[in-house]
């Protein structure tokens, strides 16, 4: 199948005298490189210039709080099941009296860890979450020196009350439409996984 019209059939014909001198070919090659001498470099000087991210860039995760500042995550574990890289682990705990302002529902995640070395930033956790708790953001995950440091716990993942993470760029019309029917999406996923385990 021909994909482009740039393909050439290789020929092994004898070179003409002028071709076998090589010098004309060398001269034309040098003119090509000379032209590039005056071209604008394609470099983006990274620390000074940062390339704009897409609004729906999938970077470091955030665990959202609700409008009152309580954590939305109920430690249901759907994100951990949805995760193809098995990067998410958590332990659940029951909310006691007096913690209503901290956790939205009776159950919450006592620990919630994402291993950033395993994570492939696919966004399946975000899709699976029934509580609108986990989102991927346009923040990059820093390079760190040890593997231990790259297992992010709740201290890093949960957004701070005073400084909530803006996700409005991710809420495009398509996303909103998808979210409208989202419960089916993750149910379907869960059902498929359960079926796969049974078989």
């Amino acid at each position: 199948m021909q994909l482009t019209n740039r393909s050439k059939v290789v020929s092994k014909k004898e070179m003409t005298f002028m071709e076998s001198l090589y010098l004309p070919a060398i001269a034309s090659g040098m003119m090509i490189t000379l032209k590039h001498l005056f071209k604008k470099p394609a470099t983006i000087k990274y620390p000074e210039q940062i390339r704009p991210f897409s609004g729906i860039y999938r970077g470091q995760h955030v665990l959202k709080r609700d409008e009152k500042g309580a954590e939305r995550c109920t430690a249901c574990g759907l994100c951990a099941i949805a995760c193809p890289a098995e990067a998410i682990t958590m332990t659940a705990a029951e909310r006691v009296k007096g913690e209503e302002h901290l956790y939205r529902e009776e159950k919450y995640a006592a620990t919630y860890e994402i291993n950033m070395l395993r994570c492939i930033f696919c966004g399946d956790c975000e899709e699976a979450c029934p509580k609108e708790a986990i989102f991927l953001t346009d923040r990059k995950v820093d390079s760190l020196y040890t593997r231990k440091e790259l297992v992010f716990g709740k201290d890093i993942l949960v957004e701070s009350i005073n400084n909530p993470i803006d996700l409005s760029k991710r809420q495009t019309e398509g996303v909103k439409e998808f979210k409208h029917h989202k419960e089916f999406a993750h149910n379907q996923l869960f059902a498929d996984k359960a079926k796969a385990i049974k078989h």
Binding site: I26, M30, I32, H36, L37, P41, A42, T43, K45
Partner: protein, 346 residues
């Protein structure tokens, strides 16, 4: 041998030495910049404005690196190798005429360290010693990659010296002298030797590329095939010496190509505008320097355009193309010089 003569010679030696070092240092920077520009990149730009301090940073890095001498190597020769490379690279700078003589208080001060009457022979002698630096360094490392690189380097340099010598013989025939000072002086105005010896000039330039081990003849280094070639086992500033010697060689061979074929310090029509001897001498130095800078740029330009030769192609080009061509050039030059006598014969 007066004291003032001695001091003047010392000063000019020092100036040429420092100039060679500085130009070679900034050639490393220039090479990286030109490589970057030819590939639509930016190149080093972090050390100082436009990365102008990059050579210093590289030098500091080289000095700070750990010195490794393989335990199985021949230590004396291992240390001598880069020294010879560096020394021969500097020695060739001695005979280059940097300009006409300066006249200060009625005394002539030629801008040349020494005008040997056999400077071309001296040049070839020193070039041949240059092979020893690489050969000794590669052999003393006691490493097969080093040895292979060294053998390739020396056979390449010896092969191309033949064609280079033959092309220079044609030049000697037309100029009738072995002194670089006289060759430069003969090319007054537009009488550049490249006009009379275009083929010889081409052969000489190609051989100069091979002699300096520059792309497309950089088989001795050949990082994709031979790890690092003859300097595989070298580290720290000894490696720096080998790499630096290449840039000095590039500078000196640009100077020699300019002097042999491109008029040296001469520039056409400059005599019409400037008559003062000292101004002319300084301008001559500037012209020669500009030619050398262009020569170095040309070396780099070629390096970042052409791919490397295969070894058999290299040898074929040297022995089967350049040597016959230079002999042809020799014969044609002879016929042209004898044309009046030949006309009479027929």
């Amino acid at each position: 041998m007066t004291l003032s003569f001695f001091i003047y010679k010392l000063i000019i030696v020092l100036i040429v030495f420092v100039m060679t070092l500085v130009v070679a240092m900034y050639s490393t920077y220039g090479e990286r910049k030109i490589a970057a520009f030819l590939q639509d990149r930016v190149g080093p730009d972090r050390a100082g404005p436009f990365g102008i301090l990059q050579p210093l940073a590289d030098g500091v890095k080289m000095f700070m690196k750990e010195e490794m001498i393989p335990s199985v190597s021949n230590k004396v020769l291992f240390i001598i190798g880069p020294g010879i490379s560096m020394m021969t690279a500097f020695l060739t700078g001695v005979i280059i005429p940097w300009g006409k003589s300066l006249n200060i208080d009625g005394v002539e001060y030629p801008l040349q360290i020494t005008d040997l009457n056999i400077s071309i022979l001296y040049l070839f002698g020193v070039l041949s010693i240059g092979v020893y630096g690489i050969m000794i360094g590669g052999w003393a490392s006691n490493n097969k990659f080093s040895l292979l690189g060294a053998v390739r380097a020396s056979s390449q340099m010896i092969s191309y010296e033949v064609a280079m010598g033959l092309s220079v013989i044609a030049l000697i025939m037309t100029t009738g002298t072995l002194s670089l000072g006289e060759i430069a002086a003969q090319q007054e105005g537009w009488h550049w030797n490249v006009v009379f010896q275009p083929l010889g000039c081409l052969i000489f330039i190609i051989c100069a590329f091979a002699e300096t081990n520059r792309a497309p003849f950089d088989l001795p280094e050949c990082e994709t095939e031979l790890v690092g070639g003859y300097h595989t086992e070298y580290s720290s500033m000894k490696l720096g010496f080998f790499l630096f010697a290449e840039y000095i060689n590039m500078f000196v061979s640009s100077a020699i190509i300019s002097t042999f074929y491109f008029g040296g310090y001469n520039m056409p029509f400059i005599g019409r505008f400037v008559h003062d001897q000292n101004t002319l001498a300084i301008l001559g130095f500037v012209f020669l320097f500009a030619k050398i800078i262009f020569g170095i740029f040309f070396f780099m330009w070629v390096r970042w355009t052409l791919p490397r030769f295969r070894y058999d192609q290299l040898m074929n080009l040297g022995w089967k193309t350049l040597i016959p061509l230079s002999i042809l050039n020799l014969v044609l030059t002879g016929l042209w010089m004898m044309k009046d006598e030949l006309m009479k014969m027929f």
